[in-house]
Symmetry: C2
Subunit: 232 residues, 2 copies
């Protein structure tokens, strides 16, 4: 099997059958999410795993009554940092340096560059930026689930503020970004399962571009190399 | 091989050797990006493919002088919608309905619900929202490249406004979101290649939550089902 075959196989499952997925498949999917790359390696997100039916019933109420929330085996809630601080970034960088046997100072210059950038961009931008990283992890979980022949429904349709309240995320520094019920399809009751998978045609999705298509009229800055801020 | 093995193998390649990747591998990676799921199936992004060295030289100037931009085989530029309009959404939904042999009206109710939501959220939120979808596609391209043993460097470190000018994206309705050079590592000159891959430990990355951890004090809304707005 290959990733392309897996992506052809998967679809946003509309009806699940309540069956449980094996623990090793759940672990596999979570590990793919954990191995995902993120901006500056910060992994500015985490995953909350929920299988308690009473809690899933309540989450369904803040997720437009989608049946997969209660018919899934496990619900993954991706939650990202609500902003960047020196402390949060230092904690991650220091851990990475410890694991690599390097001094903490290695990252000081680089950290200052990104902190300045984040500060200039404001808290709302920061939350969106952290959330974007969680989408990479979310995508790896989707790909891993498909590889394991586990159905999954990528869901943005939920009231994130309400979910944050429900999961006591308020004040934790994390905000929910996307959710992913994992389970098995109930094909007979799923209106989408037999519909054709439709994607933008290649000719519209992919554009090749050469210098002839580019603007020659752009005021280009003097080169600055970010890597030079990492002490090597 | 498996996705987990591929994710362990890959790393943000810091130095590439300029060798070209075979066309079939490029096509495979682009197809994975194209098959990625997106919010409401809108695929509110596209991929620009660049291998023209003169253009790559100019892009490197707006991407913090990162050598992978010019030493790669192909550079993928992901670009997402800068906002949502009735026309943009209708074009996609109509195409999907045509492909499925369903009347355009099938999606009218649902379209109105999401348009209202997007309008309330404002243009900046809309651009972030579309960009987030492009990160799912970006992640699938990263996973596909690793599967094909093609090196790739996920890059956010570039001046997106300048890149948009350079690629004549201004006024096109698209904004660049992330870029991905594809190629092959030059291990001897790559400071990262032999560093340990470090990720947040499982115990911190994954939280299990039950009703006991949840707030019982949340004012929950009356259930509303979004799917009910799709005529079936």
């Amino acid at each position: 099997m290959s990733l392309l075959t897996d992506l052809e196989w998967r679809y946003a499952t509309k009806k699940m059958n309540g069956k449980k997925i094996p623990q090793e498949k759940l672990d596999y999917i979570l590990e793919a999410a954990r191995l995902a790359p993120s901006s500056s390696g910060l992994q500015q997100y985490k995953v909350i795993v929920i299988s308690d039916s009473a809690l899933l019933e309540r989450i369904r109420l803040v997720a437009y009554d989608q049946s997969q929330i209660t018919d899934c085996s496990h619900l993954l809630v991706f939650a990202a940092w609500d902003g960047y601080t020196d402390e949060r970034i230092s904690n991650v960088f220091n851990y990475i340096m410890d694991e690599r046997g390097l001094p903490h100072e290695t990252m000081d210059g680089y950290k200052q560059v990104i902190l300045d950038l984040y500060e200039r961009s404001g808290q709302e931008w920061q939350a969106h930026h952290a959330a974007k990283q969680s989408y990479i992890s979310f995508a790896m979980a989707i790909a891993a689930a498909a590889e394991q022949k586990v159905d999954a429904t990528p869901i943005e349709g939920f009231l994130s503020e309400k979910l944050d309240e429900l999961l006591n995320l308020k004040g934790s520094g994390y905000k929910s970004t996307v959710i992913l019920p994992l389970g098995y399809r109930e094909s007979e009751q799923d209106w989408l399962v037999n519909m054709k998978k439709v994607r933008t045609p290649k000719s519209m999705f992919i554009t090749e571009m050469t210098m002839a298509d580019a603007s020659t009229d752009v005021d280009l800055p003097a080169p600055m190399n970010l890597d030079s801020f990492v002490q090597k």
